[in-house]
């Protein structure tokens, strides 16, 4: 689905990897290693300084940028909701492409386990966890094939983070999505991912199955990171 060939951007150096359809990839590593930069490259919020990225077999720059961004949804660490109601937010993406239908609202709130009467609620009245759910619903409204998650629970308390995790688990099962998620929470990584990419100093240091990586790290760098 995605292929990186010798990609350089900012701190990222010579990044090479492939992501297959329905992979659940967890990107983890120390802060400033380039994890968010990597997600931004996939959504084309940024372009590589050097190297090539392929999406569905075609160079990423040959895809229409807006269409690609619709297919490859991104949920940022902060919800960054737009002023207005929950409905205004979740119909934002589909409305850009003239694809919004009113019946979708309730369904989307259902996906993120929010009651349907929240549709008319002003986003200023929502709690942190609710805001992140709305942000997730807003991205899902575009029916993406790939879901990029940039530490979606890092700003939330433990209980709320667990709730969001449950929502994500259900979504992955129901929608057969391909997922790339940045997280510092290793338990979360174990629960949600089937593959891990350990990034440090802008390089992919280890790439493998999550349980294997966590239980038997191959590199000293990963072992040290896990100890911390």
């Amino acid at each position: 689905m995605f292929r990186f060939e010798h990609v350089y951007q900012g701190v990222l150096q010579d990044i090479n990897f492939t992501i297959e359809k329905q992979d659940k990839v967890i990107l983890f590593g120390p802060s400033g290693a380039g994890k968010s930069t990597l997600l931004f490259l996939l959504n084309r919020l940024n372009d590589p300084e050097k190297g090539d990225i392929y999406f569905n077999g075609k160079p990423i720059e040959e895809h229409s940028i807006t269409a690609l961004r619709k297919q490859v949804g991104l949920v940022l660490q902060a919800p960054n909701l737009f002023p207005g109601t929950v409905l205004d937010n979740i119909k934002y993406g589909p409305s850009l492409f003239g694809e919004w239908e009113d019946h979708q609202g309730k369904k989307l709130l259902d996906y993120v386990q929010l009651p349907s009467d929240y549709l008319e609620r002003d986003v200023d009245q929502l709690s942190g966890g609710e805001r992140q759910r709305v942000s997730l619903a807003r991205t899902l409204a575009n029916s993406p094939e790939v879901l990029l998650l940039d530490e979606p629970t890092s700003a939330l308390d433990y209980r709320t983070a667990e709730e969001i995790e449950e929502v994500l688990e259900c979504l992955m099962e129901e929608h057969q999505l391909t997922m790339l998620m940045v997280t510092h929470n290793l338990n979360q990584a174990r629960r949600l991912g089937n593959r891990g990419l350990f990034i440090s100093d802008g390089k992919i240091v280890e790439d493998g199955k999550i349980p294997d990586m966590f239980d038997q790290p191959k590199t000293e760098e990963l072992a040290k990171f896990l100890e911390q």
């Binding site: 084309r44 919020l45 807006t66 993406g93 575009n142």
Partner: protein
Amino acid sequence: MEPEISNQSLFFLIIFVIVPLALSYYYQLGVSKNVIWSTVRGTVQLFAIGYILTFLFDLPARYGIPFMLTVMIIIATFHARQKGKDLPYVGFILFGGLLAIEVGVLSLWLLFDMIQFRPSEVIPMSGMVIGNSMTAMGLALERMKTEFKENNGRLLASLSLGAEPKQASHLIVQNTLHASLIPNVDRLKTIGLVQLPGMMTGLILGGVSPVMAIKYQLVISLSIFSSVSLSAMFITLCMYRYFFNKNKQLLQTDEEIRSSRS
């Protein structure tokens, strides 16, 4: 007979300078030098412009007016440019905007016989329009930069959902215009109630009847209202696009913005 302030009377204006100087000295505000320098500079500038205007008013209108308007627009461009010097082409866009607004307003004034094509009428009135437009453009540029910084996350979220830069910046443009226009609307609402506008005051002091002074004031106030609104709109709608590159990506640093078009 024209009302006149004698040089002797003018000299006593020094009292108005001594008051802030004394305050500065007493409270050790450290602005005494600044007060003296600003007063001297302001006085010299005003006398200089007085002599320049006298010279220009004596020139035939077809030379004096275009010359002075060009000088005003160039100075206004350089001044407003300070607020957005990281943005590409900002000087050209400001110059073009100020020129178009001034030409438009002047044409309407002349077309509907509101003023005569005489330096003594066109230059002071145009000065007010250009000056206010310059301030509006500068404020809009400054506000837009702040809005782009403060709404970075929302802009990224919007782009990531597939929005075009124009759609993603809608909120920024809206906030910038709102912030630029509201003081303008408020000013018009309270005109004459809180203070008599400067032009009207000047005309009354010059011996013109208050009703005639009000007519001139209305012409200038509504012209300023319109040109300030247009200026803010023009500069905002022209400049927001320079915060994105051709790949619809948000430029997040001044350096990126500066180098985006080179």
